[in-house]
Symmetry: C2
Subunit: 326 residues, 2 copies
DNA sequence: CACCAAAAGCGAAACGATTCGTTTGTACGG
DNA sequence: CCGTACAAACGAATCGTTTCGCTTTTGGTG
């Protein structure tokens, strides 16, 4: 593999001139020509490791997230990667699978690995732990989808409470008063916020809250599936169910269908995230649709600003969700 | 930020002893203790850039793929990342969005960026171009899902032809003889193979091939959606349709449902990939299910073997798909 | 207690770029 | 023809590790 030294020798100029040329500095035309030829002849490529050592940056952004199977995450990551790449950064992902030990380990791994910035969907980490792991490094971090309360840093979230409020209100306006909710672990930020929206919608419409109608467990297919069984077994089952996550929604619908429960006649369902899938049902299953692309773009933009030296106070953006169909 | 030199000074031993300690070499217990204390006191972490430069490796694997929104890709990447991380590698992704210029650019970007290995789902790149871009680097590559014909390297594929053969045979056994197929671009490896399985199934069952019944376009929702319109407009529409991709399947079902076409009575559909989603329909829509986890694991294992020095001939694994429901 | 092999420690030379301060080269006006 | 000003080229130092060849220390044995 040719080094900058070889190029200098072949082109007949000094190493520093090659470096200047490579980095877009001014070089005499005849030298530029000679350098070009030498580079071509030797098939020279700058060694990224040497450069990184010298400048102490890697142009690499870590993305730490709990899952990638659900389309929500894939779409966000795709959008992140696109924007970051346009600015010369690459995307290093790390999936912890909602496994709490892994969440720490992978964060440590990313950090000790020379990332320039971090995009993070937290789940279990506490504020103190986060600072303990990241403080000494001092790289910019953008939290997305969820936040660790107390961590001061940029964040891109959606208006969970408001979106759920509207969705549940729609169910109420359709005449439902026994409305269940199936949601993720109550410790998870999004679950809390979404539950909040649900409660507020009930209360604003004068509906009494019944804790039999609240199911909270892993963000998983099984939670929706078993939730359906649980709800149907109640003395007075709900007439409508709101779900707060892709997998839960799919699980619930599957279980309902298997039991011959008619949707929406026997059980009206309002889901989350699975836009294309739910649009395909007859009648279309209404869902809350998060702006995945925008989340990725905004997070990337925040990060790049910080990497370019912006040093303002932490910013939190709340992006609006849409209800689909409108 | 503390360096190894600082640790050496504080611990009262030489730099090389620190290095040895850090890399698991034998060190006298008293020294080990002193080193541990110095590291803790200084909050020392080895500088990854310096290490990479010295050893000329990054422990980073590039993953180049066309899309991430469909759950298939997310699941494969998740499984890749898991296995790689267990072996101390991290995963650097790059999505080219079925954009041919980007496929080249992103490959170049990854390569000039010091990856130790590559996992690649190719789409448009030719064999020559691939070699031109990668030859001088000499990193191990595993192609997954698809291959560039002529490229000698490890590959992990599924038995596309066989899976489709069986799926279409099922439709035939149910009595269908006018069976359409909606598939991706004919230039794409998987589309070709899947189309091959379809043709073989027809021919083995003595059914004449009708090219009106073959629709080939982008792997996208719109292709399935419009495909439905096209097929229904035929003088003699098909009684069954086989789709070869997640997005196409969803598009087709959506269009059918919107038109009041009953599934399976008016149009029997056999889909691809969307396992949970299709299981949730009534009756469940049968699909070809690819072993995403196994694809990721196998690819990662191949790569790691090569990175550990294995230098045997290229290996191609064909993993079996399942039909679901069985 | 002396000897020896094995173990551990040491210092210096890489790895391949960027960068800073200095020297050389070029062009132009007086 | 010389002096000056400015651009370009240069050389050396540096980033923080790993590794190699050698010296010192250690601990077991006769």
């Amino acid at each position: 593999m040719a080094t900058i030294k070889d190029v200098a020798r072949v082109a007949g100029v000094s190493i520093s001139t090659i470096s200047k040329y490579m980095n877009g500095g001014n070089v005499r035309p005849d030298n530029a020509q000679a350098i070009r030829e030498a580079i071509a002849a030797l098939d020279y490529r700058a060694n990224p490791f040497a450069r990184n050592l010298k400048i102490q940056r890697s142009r690499s952004i870590g993305v730490l997230l709990p899952d990638m199977a659900a389309p929500f995450y894939g779409t966000v990551v795709m959008s992140l990667d696109k924007t970051l790449r346009e600015h010369g950064y690459h995307t290093q992902i790390s999936v912890y699978g909602s496994n709490y030990g892994l969440e720490r380990d992978n964060l440590r791994f990313l950090i000790t690995n020379g990332i320039d910035g971090l995009v993070y969907i937290p789940e279990d980490l506490s504020c103190d732990e986060f600072y303990e792991l990241t403080a000494s490094i001092g790289i910019p971090t953008v939290q997305i989808d969820r936040i660790i309360p107390g961590v001061a840093g940029d964040a891109v979230l959606v208006d969970n409470g408001e979106a759920v409020y509207q969705a549940v209100s729609r169910l109420i306006e359709k005449g439902h008063s026994r409305i269940a909710i199936i949601t993720g672990p109550k410790s998870v930020f999004t679950a809390k916020e979404r539950l909040g929206g649900y409660l507020r919608a009930l209360s604003d419409h004068g509906i009494l809250f019944d804790d039999e109608l609240v199911i909270s467990d892993q963000n998983a297919f099984a939670t929706g599936y078993r939730g359906c069984e649980t709800l149907l077994a109640l003395d007075e089952p709900p007439t409508a169910v709101f779900t707060t996550n892709y997998d839960i929604t799919i699980g619930l619908v599957t279980a309902a269908r298997e039991r011959g429960v008619r949707i929406p006649e026997d059980m009206d369902i309002f889901g989350f995230d699975c836009v294309e899938v739910c649009a395909m049902m007859r009648p279309p299953l209404p869902v809350v649709h998060q702006p995945e692309q925008e989340i990725g773009q905004t997070a990337a933009a925040y990060l790049i600003e910080r990497l370019n030296g912006y040093d303002g106070p932490p910013r939190t953006t709340r992006l609006k969700c849409r209800l689909a169909p409108e």
